[in-house]
Amino acid sequence: MHSLYARLNNFSAFLSSCLMGLLAAIALSSFLFTAEPKGELTLASVKVFPGSSRRMPTVKQEFTFVNFNISADLTPLFHWNTKQLFVYLQAEYVDSKGVQNDVVLWDSIIRRKQDAVLNIAGRNKYVFRDLSRSFRNAQAANYTLRYNLMPYVGVLTYGEAGRTSEPVPFPEPETVS
């Protein structure tokens, strides 16, 4: 403490401790915000088509196409420690082999509070196909709208903002004329 460098050293050492304490307090404060906004998720149509992918042109498999409507107000999730929201639509079903599948069909990143009111009519962004290459014996699927809250400091939190009111069965494959 007698010299300039000793004082600077002492200051920066205690500054880093205080900064850690401040960050820990901010991370813990996120648990005070317990909003769980709910929105509506409805399916406009679910269709199954036979086809083949570009990577495996000789393999016949089935593709499901989902059109959906989302209306949800996720603004309560934005507090001082929210960096962004990752919102995704997930299909949850038990396939023909009895295995539980969770497939992400659509997602979106929301960076600002003013963008957090969702009114979206969309279709699946990612290809929806089954490992067994067919949806024929798969059980009816639940579609859920989920979010992942990414904070500036602290832990990621997950939540569900919407769900179809009842399981939606996969229709018979349509024939492509």
């Binding site: 300039l4 205080c18 900064l19 901010i26 001082w80």
Partner: protein, 91 residues
Amino acid sequence: MNANLNGLLEGKIDFEGQKLVETITRVALVVLSVISFIVGFALQSLQVTFGIFSAGSIALVLLIVPPWPIYNSHPVQWLPSLPPTSSSIKS
């Protein structure tokens, strides 16, 4: 010239000043953390929190690092030098 420059860069302060600087650093940093958290929480803005914290830290550096005259207001009083004894003269 060189000795002057070294003295300026070293920035010595006296013992009372060192004690004062230590106390100021501890109290000010804790108070600063608490205030920046409370204000940021009230305004729901991390930008405010870290704005206050960094501005306060810079002000604190300016307050405690340079050897301000107030930290040198209690110079050490040395005992007067003893008159040379006969034995030291002999040797």
